[in-house]
């Protein structure tokens, strides 16, 4: 027991350049996937919100279909989603390995999750404000970028913070099956070569990334909230 702890805190196997490389890969995977999750999630969230708002001939089926797809991809466990998407990833990215090989699964796994958070954020908008905008003769497109997005922005930011943190975890899972990054470092080097000090360092770096995302997200959400 003591021996194991001693080895863990010895840091004798830790190679700084390998840690830097893994950190860089995790950051790339997280940030690119977060950007895509934000864009796709907001679009899906807007479709869900707008189609649930008023009764119309097309709105019911649109909401039903979008909602079904979102629920479907949210229900698949991430590790299975990666495997399931492999043929698709191979065609799209030309590889199933490395940072870019993980990207489709990361995006498809997180965008539907964020879509629900975006839908909740949009539902929180004061109905009266939307009615006021309509009483001015606003078009739907203008309603989206003049009212819906600005008025729900703090909640959208809080939601993307949660999603980004979830994505850090997803990149680590993807790392185990060959995506690179800190998850890969912890598993391929730390576990398989029996170097627990490397696993510990990978964990610490991941924690720092998660805390940084939370702090940045909170302060941005606070700064843009004028309520």
């Amino acid at each position: 027991m003591i021996e194991a702890l001693k080895e863990m805190f010895s840091f004798e196997h830790v190679k700084l350049d390998a840690v830097w490389q893994a950190t860089y890969e995790t950051l790339i995977m997280t940030s690119v996937a977060t950007v895509f999750a934000f864009v796709i999630g907001v679009i899906l969230g807007l479709i869900l919100f707008l189609s649930s708002r008023k009764k119309g001939r097309t709105n019911g089926p649109v909401y039903g279909a979008t909602s079904f797809v979102v629920n479907l991809f949210r229900a698949i466990p991430f590790i299975i989603l990666i495997i399931l998407l492999m043929p698709f990833t191979k065609v799209l990215m030309g590889t199933i390995m490395g940072v870019w090989g993980a990207m489709p699964a990361l995006i498809i796994g997180s965008a539907p999750f964020y879509a629900r958070l975006a839908e909740i954020a949009l539902k929180e908008i004061d109905k009266g404000v939307i009615e006021a905008a309509e009483s001015m003769g606003i078009r739907t497109l203008e309603l989206i970028y003049k009212v819906l997005i600005p008025e729900s922005l703090p909640a959208l930011v809080s939601g993307i913070t949660v999603t980004a943190i979830m994505l850090v975890g997803s990149t680590a899972i993807a790392g185990v099956i060959g995506a690179g990054g800190l998850g890969s470092l912890a598993y391929m080097v730390g576990f398989t070569r029996n170097q627990p000090d490397v696993t510990l360092v990978a964990t610490i770096v991941i924690l720092i990334i998660v805390f940084a995302i939370q702090i940045i997200g909170d302060s941005v959400a606070k700064a843009i909230d004028k309520r």
Binding site: D126, G128, V129, A132, S135, G137, V147, P150, K226
Partner: protein, 339 residues
């Protein structure tokens, strides 16, 4: 200016049909301040939303200016809404925009250039008296100031009609007064037609020219405001009028006065306009040598006239009473003997 012709609105939910507006016909003239009063659930909110097409009527027609609202295409209706604007009970400002940005929003929608938007917004900030506050966010303003922003925003595209949806119901009495005065002022200066809905008779009395009383989806009474107060016909109207002048207190007093002065006759003198200013009590004292006990009195001002009543107790013979009634009718004072 506005013609509402046999309009009904039915909301259908899965379990039931709700007839919010039933066969309403009204004509509102250009430059008029027209009030619609009713208790909650009377259908007035739905009725005002039919005027700018936020709701479409199930049957009937609404004509504003030259356009039939139901016959407009979506694009034409959006255009029309720039000329039929609206203010709200809870102001409905965008928290994410400053005062000036809120006021400029309808101008952005109308497609004005940036310099023109800025110029127009500056004019409106002065008009509603918010100079110095233009870069504040709504959360930094009081209720009255927020409604001023709402009014400026509604006026930005130079509308012909302003719809007010319970515009003062969330404000304290003093601020209500300010906002009502502002509405009167913009009617004078801009000559627009104002349609307002409210559940406060005070609002009707202070600024409206004419008013409609709604109950259960129907308009039960339409009349010039002064007539509504002097001669309310429908039960709902009577209730609103009585609530406004607190008649219940007076009636209670009369009961106790009768016990104190069993021999006295109690008269209710009702006066309007010029009669409200004539010194009738001293005239009665001098001319008929009467001893008068003043029990209670009340004078209210509408936007053009005063009206009121006075309860007095006098020891009087029947003969003399007729003489008094004759004399007072010359001064346009209506006399009722309270039993």
């Amino acid at each position: 200016m506005i013609d509402i012709l046999k309009v009904s609105k039915i909301f259908e939910t899965k379990s039931q049909k709700i007839e919010a507006v039933k066969d309403v016909s009204l004509t509102i003239d250009k430059g008029e301040i027209f009030g619609i009063i009713g208790y909650s659930g009377a259908g007035k909110s739905t009725l005002i939303r039919l005027l700018n097409g936020l709701e479409l009527p199930t049957s009937g027609e609404i004509i504003i200016g030259d356009d039939s609202i139901g016959a407009l295409s979506k694009k034409e209706l959006r255009k029309k809404r720039q000329k039929v604007s609206m203010i709200f009970q809870h102001f409905n400002l965008l928290w994410s925009r400053t005062v000036k940005e809120n006021i400029m929003m309808p101008l952005e929608i109308a497609g004005l250039k940036k310099e023109e938007r800025e110029k127009r917004a500056d004019e409106l900030i002065d008009l509603v008296g918010l100079r110095g506050r233009e870069h504040n966010y709504p959360s930094e303003l009081s209720g009255g100031q927020k409604q001023r922003v709402g009014i400026a925003r509604a006026l930005s595209n130079r509308p012909e009609v302003l719809l007010c949806d319970e515009a003062t119901s969330a404000l304290d009495p003093e601020t209500t007064e300010e906002v009502l005065n502002l509405l009167l002022e913009i009617r004078e200066t801009l000559g627009l037609t104002i349609v307002l809905i409210t559940h406060e008779m005070e609002v009707i009395r202070k600024i409206c020219d004419r008013a409609a009383v709604m109950e259960d989806g129907r308009v039960v009474e339409v009349a010039p405001v002064l007539k509504l107060f002097q001669n309310p016909e429908h039960g709902v109207t009577k209730r609103f009028v009585r609530d406004d002048i607190d008649d219940e207190d007076t009636e209670l007093q009369i009961e106790s006065i009768k016990k104190t002065f069993p021999n006295a006759t109690i008269l209710k003198l009702g006066f309007v306009g010029t009669g409200a200013r004539a010194p009738i009590v001293s005239m009665l004292v001098k001319k008929f040598d009467l001893d008068i006990n003043i029990l209670s009195g009340n004078i209210k001002n509408t936007n053009e006239e005063s009206y009121g009543h006075l309860y007095i107790a006098v020891n009087i013979t029947e003969e003399l009473l007729y003489a008094v009634i004759d004399e007072l009718s010359k001064e346009n004072v209506k006399v009722e003997v309270a039993q």
